[in-house]
């Protein structure tokens, strides 16, 4: 702890569950989402999308559409390609990865059902949609490559002829000694697990309002997103504009979860149309096109083997992950990061030394797959935790004891996983022990046995997990993507005495602005109500990465802390001149510059008045600086890992196959907790999102590559009535990579829940000698496991 910082004291906002100042605006319906913004001469764009999974465009006739009421422009892929350069979703540090150039709208061939093909700009969205129906496209349907398992088989339809096959990326991790470890093992368990496609379903659909000003050659894009500077760099480079003349504004964002961090052809086309038509163009996806074009997530088949000795010590783990990512790797973050994460993270909580993992990423004619909340973590955790439970059962060990035996000891850090992940300081055992106490695990076990005698089938599942947070440049920057890992904060003391903090990290409701204000108020010794936070505008905030990989608190928060310290130093320099003392004898407390240990001094308001209006009262050789900027990046580690443990109590109905989650518990260690309530709510919301993907959410395709469920009536997101209460507790191991000590918490819930749930279901099914190995765990999956269908 720095002498300047007191997070434990009564004046600290850090560590307190203060309410979010920006929540009231949203609770009154006074938010401003992109679709709420109306500009003069604004047009609306709608898209004709491919009805086929794979088809050649023989001809496009737009003549009838162009004559429809209100229509101002009908643009084909070729028209848009004249304005917007293609993009390639490849990261150079993922060796051998490949993906072809992608255009906003399909040119000769459409490669998934839902790919945008023709854009219609009209006076209203309704008129644009009317005209879409009048666009006539002659299609030649082509054979589609849909099944990832068969994508690399000889004779498979090759989606991009220039590549010769459908391979996007392959990676192998091998510590050596795996075969020897398996040969000498007392217990070997193996399974093939599958994880279906699901998607983010942000309640506010993807939205882009592009406003090109031809006189300035400038573009202002109001975007529902989470990485404004990334968007600025991409729009400028693809549209041929000066980067500093592209402004991205992200006001309120109605959920993002990673969905809105990618580049989509329809959004790029809206920007291109704004340039072509020299007026504002708005695109807001409807729910149908959200399902067809928002990135999908997961879609993995993992073969896993685990070897253990007689006492239950894990000797080796082997996985083979196959994932289908659609016809293109998403730009600019790629679609191989999820598989790469699965390889890096699987088994990461445990102390075995032998590990072999193969990851294969293939193209297919389905909607592109890419990063969604907790990228790779749900797969990695579910696979490892399933195998740990399988081994425990084979050796007649309790699952909690199996974990106690194998989790990396809390005093063994720093250390490195067999896949090369570097851990600074984790707390698996502390989290597990707190979890079993919170669950009252022995009593749950006793209750489970008693209920089973009454024909009630409950299962208890545990999952220990790690989470990638606070990423360094090793995540994207090193691979050539223009995505900042550093972040900044510009902080100023205004003439009124208020503190204004502008940050490069963004708010989507998780509480970023609140967390920033808590840190700023604490460091500066002012009331939180005196702090105003600015986010989401590339013209107004320092260059930063935005919000992804659970980086806002850990990286954005540290930049705020450093800016606060620098501004405080400058303020005290001014105070010293006014109070005719040395700065070292001064401090700021409750908004006043005071002599330490006394209340003697002056308010920040008075100090600011002197600086801004009555500078003549200051020494002539002294220039106050009440605006500072500080930046921060993670330097010591590629990522700063967090860890935790989740527990699940679920009940299955062996007659109907229905699974009911009765209760979830989570103990999470995200380092220093800035706002316990906000962390808990991130965990809860994340757990429910994880449970959704593990229980009900599924993008179901037919054999021709048609997505069968494109409404919220038949794609099932969790509802209030079927979700449990979730108990959350904290362990705090502050990271030493920053003064603040905070790590991320946004993805821990989603990362751990599917594994805990599957273990609970299988714990219940064990009484029947059955187990499930695929998600979502729908009733038919359970009934099939029970041999009933």
């Amino acid at each position: 702890m720095s002498g300047e910082l007191d997070f434990e004291g009564p004046a600290s906002y850090v560590g307190r569950s203060v309410s979010r100042p920006n929540a009231r605006r949203l609770a009154e319906g006074r938010g401003q989402y992109v679709d709420d913004i109306v500009l003069p001469r604004m047009l609306h764009v709608a898209f004709v999308r491919s009805p086929h999974a794979h088809a050649r465009i023989l001809s496009i006739d737009t003549s009838r559409a162009e004559r429809m009421p209100g229509v101002r422009r009908v643009a084909t892929g070729a028209d848009i390609a004249r304005i917007c350069k293609p993009y390639v979703g490849v990261l150079t540090h993922l060796a051998g990865m490949r993906s072809p150039p992608q255009h906003p709208l399909a040119l000769e061939v459409a490669r998934w059902q839902g790919e945008p093909v023709v854009a219609v700009a009209a006076e209203s969205r309704a008129e644009a949609e009317d005209a879409c129906e009048a666009v006539e496209i002659a299609w030649q349907e082509l054979p589609a490559a849909l099944d990832a398992e068969r994508a690399l088989e000889p004779g498979a339809t090759v989606i991009h002829a220039e590549f010769g096959d459908n391979l996007c990326f392959r990676r192998v991790v091998d510590t050596g000694g795996v075969d020897e470890a398996f040969a000498g093992a007392a217990a070997v368990v193996e399974d093939t697990l599958s994880f279906g496609r699901h998607t983010g379903v942000t309640l506010e659909p993807r939205s882009m309002l592009a406003d090109y000003n031809a006189a300035e050659e400038s573009l202002t894009a109001y975007h529902s997103g989470q990485s404004p500077h990334m968007m600025q760099a991409i729009l400028a480079s693809r549209l041929g504009l000066d980067e500093h003349r592209v402004r991205i504004v992200c006001r309120d964002v109605g959920g993002s979860f990673g969905i809105k961090i990618h580049i989509y052809g329809d959004e790029m086309a809206a920007c291109a149309l704004s340039i072509m038509l020299r007026r504002p163009v708005k695109f807001v996806a409807d729910r149908h096109e959200s399902f067809l074009s928002d990135i999908h997530a997961r879609d993995h088949r993992v073969r896993a083997r685990l070897a253990a000795d007689r006492e239950g010590n894990v000797l080796a783990l082997e996985i083979d992950d196959l994932t289908g990512v659609g016809p293109y790797s998403m730009y600019p973050r790629s679609s191989a990061v999820e598989c790469n994460q699965v390889l890096g993270l699987t088994g990461g909580p445990y102390r075995h030394k032998r590990y072999r993992a193969t990851g294969t990423v293939v193209f297919q004619n389905k909607n592109p797959m890419s990063q969604y909340r907790a990228v790779g973590h749900p797969i990695a955790t579910a696979v490892a935790e399933h195998m740990i439970d399988r081994a425990a059962r084979a050796l007649a060990l309790d699952p909690a004891d199996m974990r106690r035996r194998n989790l990396i000891p809390d005093d063994a850090y720093p250390c490195q996983s067999p896949s090369g992940m570097r851990f600074e300081q984790l707390s698996h055992h502390a989290c597990l022990e707190k979890l079993v106490a919170l669950m009252d695990y022995p009593r749950l076990r006793a209750g489970q046995a008693a209920l089973r005698a009454q024909g009630v089938h409950r299962g208890i599942g545990l999952a220990s997990f790690i989470e990638v947070t606070n990423p360094s440049p090793m995540f994207y920057g090193v691979g050539g993507a223009r995505i900042a890992a550093q972040d900044g904060c510009t902080m100023r003391l205004d003439a009124s005495g208020a503190i204004i903090a502008a940050t490069g990290v963004t708010e989507q409701g998780q509480g970023t602005e609140t967390m920033i204000a808590q840190i700023a108020a604490t460091v500066l010794g002012v009331q939180m109500s005196c702090v105003k936070v600015l986010t989401g505008d590339t013209d107004k905030v320092p260059y930063g990465g935005g919000t992804w990989a659970s980086r806002a608190a850990g990286i954005g928060g540290e930049a705020v802390l450093q800016a606060g310290l620098a501004l405080k130093k400058n303020i005290l320099e001014v105070g010293a001149r006014i109070l005719k003392t040395d700065a070292g004898s001064l401090d700021i407390a409750d908004g006043r510059v005071v002599k330490r240990g006394t209340s003697e001094g002056l308010s920040l308001t008075e100090l600011a008045r002197i600086v801004y209006y009555r500078g003549n009262e200051l020494p002539a050789d002294f220039q106050p600086e009440l605006v500072v900027t500080r930046h921060y990046r993670v330097k010591d580690y590629p990522f700063v890992f967090t860890n935790g443990a989740q527990g699940c109590l679920a009940e299955i109905d062996p007659e109907t196959g229905f699974v009911r989650v009765l209760k979830m518990w989570c103990v999470d260690d995200c380092g220093r907790v800035i706002n316990p309530k906000l962390v808990e709510e991130q965990i809860r919301g994340g757990i429910v999102q994880g449970l959704g993907g593990a229980l009900t959410e599924h993008c179901r395709y037919d054999e021709r590559g048609q997505l069968l469920n494109c409404t919220m009536a038949d794609y099932l997101v969790p509802m209030a009535g079927e979700m449990p209460d979730i108990e959350v507790a904290h362990i705090q191991t502050p990271t030493r990579t920053s003064l603040l000590g905070a790590k991320g918490a946004g993805e821990a819930g989603t990362g751990g829940a599917p594994g805990a749930l599957m273990n609970a279901v299988n714990d219940a099914l064990a009484a029947f000698g059955a187990r499930v190995t695929s998600q979502p765990i729908t009733p038919d999956v359970v009934l099939a496991a029970l041999g009933k269908i």
């Binding site: 609770a27 319906g29 006074r30 409701g509 409404t711 979700m723």
Partner: protein
């Protein structure tokens, strides 16, 4: 022009104000509120009647404004989040939502609050299970719902402790 694009005159009361407009027959009540009246607190999440983000009150009963045509609201009394907020009609629930952090991105929140108000009118002391069941028609993708249940339950408990007004 087809029948759906035909324009009709409607008169209705929105948030206590008399409103007269000419609207296309096909215009949904949600689009009418948002685009014609600028009441953007009513949100569109699915346009399918599933998610509840567009919930408003029509003659005192909650309704999905995406499933109703503006012309069907001719002569009706409509209340949206803006009117209910300004009138203080849901102030207790709003305070409880802020305190419990029962909203994150805020997109579902207007609909959720209006549904919660209807629940408490019908059932002033609902159990947690009843709250969860009633709000099952309003999707929230951020919170996981528990804090919403906490907020609604806290208002019910506070009202019970305070007694009838």
């Amino acid at each position: 022009m087809n029948d759906a694009q035909e324009a009709l005159d409607i008169e209705l009361e929105v948030n206590g104000e008399h409103v007269r407009r000419r609207v296309e027959a096909r215009r949904s009540l949600a689009d009418f509120l948002r685009q014609d009246l600028g009441l953007t607190g009513t949100h569109l999440g699915c346009e399918h009647g599933a998610c509840g983000a567009c919930t408003v009150r029509v003659d005192g009963a909650i309704a999905r404004s995406c499933l109703m045509l503006a012309v069907q609201a001719d002569g009706a009394r409509i209340e949206t989040i803006e009117g209910l907020s300004d009138a203080g009609a849901i102030a207790e629930l709003q305070n409880a939502f802020v305190l419990a952090n029962a909203l994150q991105c805020g997109y579902c929140t207007p609909g959720m609050l209006i549904a919660a108000q209807a629940l408490l009118e019908a059932d002033p002391q609902p159990s947690r299970d009843r709250i969860r069941e009633f709000l099952a028609g309003n999707y929230c993708r951020c919170t996981g719902y528990q804090s919403i249940v906490d907020a609604v339950a806290s208002v019910a408990a506070h009202r019970a402790a305070r007694g009838p007004r």
